[in-house]
């Protein structure tokens, strides 16, 4: 299945802004993040098709996965 992955802010460094990937059925958000070598502790929020999602959410054909780092300064 094809999933569009969009990265935000620092997660773009050395990676990409957005790209379409082919994943096997049953792929979860966590698998994508691990494959992209994004440290889990840097995660802020993950959206699937504009809706808040958990790391264990299963992706489906045509999903848009948006991954944001934690931004916490003041």
């Amino acid at each position: 299945m094809q999933v569009k992955v969009k990265l935000f802010a620092t997660f773009r460094k050395g990676r990409f802004k957005e790209a379409v990937f082919e994943y096997p059925e049953g792929t979860r958000v966590r698998d994508v993040i691990e494959e992209l070598k994004i440290p889990l502790k840097e995660l802020g929020i993950v959206f699937i098709n504009g809706k808040d999602a958990s790391l264990d959410a299963e992706l489906k054909e045509g999903d848009v996965l948006s991954i944001f780092p934690l931004v916490g300064g003041g």
Binding site: A9, G44, P69, L70, V71, G72
Partner: protein
């Protein structure tokens, strides 16, 4: 004051807001939690708008590494309490402001009383304190405008009692500091985010306009992209 002429210092606020609305701003009491990058700009805006009661909390003194972005920092203020320096500056910017500055963490000063705050603005620098502040606002039924910055990136949102977008946007977070630890913060980012936070606070005071409720605004000033996430 009804029937009296509006001070010339506020005259350029009028038409964007009415004189009656300016009165509401005069009567508002805003709490600003943190007096660093965001807090400095937030307090400056509030004072110039005519918010006559501002309560602020910060335990720190100005340090050299603040000079790249913190509005009230300067060579003469290094080593001095942020709250004290801001109090002095406000006497020059707008002596009508009653500034209640607390030198310490906000948790040491919160009471069972909700205070008479119209709105609370988060200008903290870590997630743990921000969550505690959100919990306090929830318990005391106070609206909270929160903001976060790192590098070229800023985020802002507003939550009213019963709403918990702040928890939603950081529920995956495994630590208390974000990418700002590696990225630092560029000066224009807190300036922009603080400005949006104050715009939100003014709309809450006036009960007018569209708020970032159940929404979360993000800006990336490097790639010049904005996003609004909505629940």
């Amino acid at each position: 004051m009804p029937g009296t002429r509006l001070l010339l210092r506020y005259i350029r606020n009028i038409e964007a807001i009415t004189e009656e609305e300016q009165e509401r701003i005069f009567k508002a009491h805003v709490a600003v939690v943190g007096c660093g990058g965001l807090g400095g700009y937030v307090i400056s805006h509030l004072a110039r708008l005519g918010v006559r009661r501002i309560t602020a909390f910060d335990p720190d003194v100005f340090a050299e590494h603040n000079l790249n972005r913190q509005l009230f920092s300067g060579l003469s203020s290094l080593g001095r309490s942020k709250v004290e320096v801001i109090e002095e500056a406000l006497r020059d910017i707008n002596p009508e402001v009653e500034f209640y500055g607390f030198k310490g963490r906000f948790q040491d000063f919160w009471t069972d009383d909700r205070g008479d705050y119209t709105v609370v603005i988060d200008a903290l620098d870590n997630l743990k304190d921000r969550r505690e502040l959100a919990g306090w606002c929830r318990a005391k039924k106070l609206p909270l405008v929160y903001g976060m910055v790192a590098g070229w990136y800023g985020q802002v949102g507003t939550q009213f009692p019963g709403e918990n977008t702040l928890d939603k946007i950081c529920h995956l977070a495994g630590k208390e500091k974000g990418v700002e630890e590696k990225e630092g913060v560029l000066s224009f980012v807190p300036a922009i985010i603080a400005s949006i936070q104050v715009a939100e606070a003014v709309k809450i005071i006036l009960g007018r306009g569209e708020l970032l409720r159940n929404k979360f605004f993000l800006i990336d000033l490097l790639d010049m992209e904005t996003e609004i996430l909505a629940w």
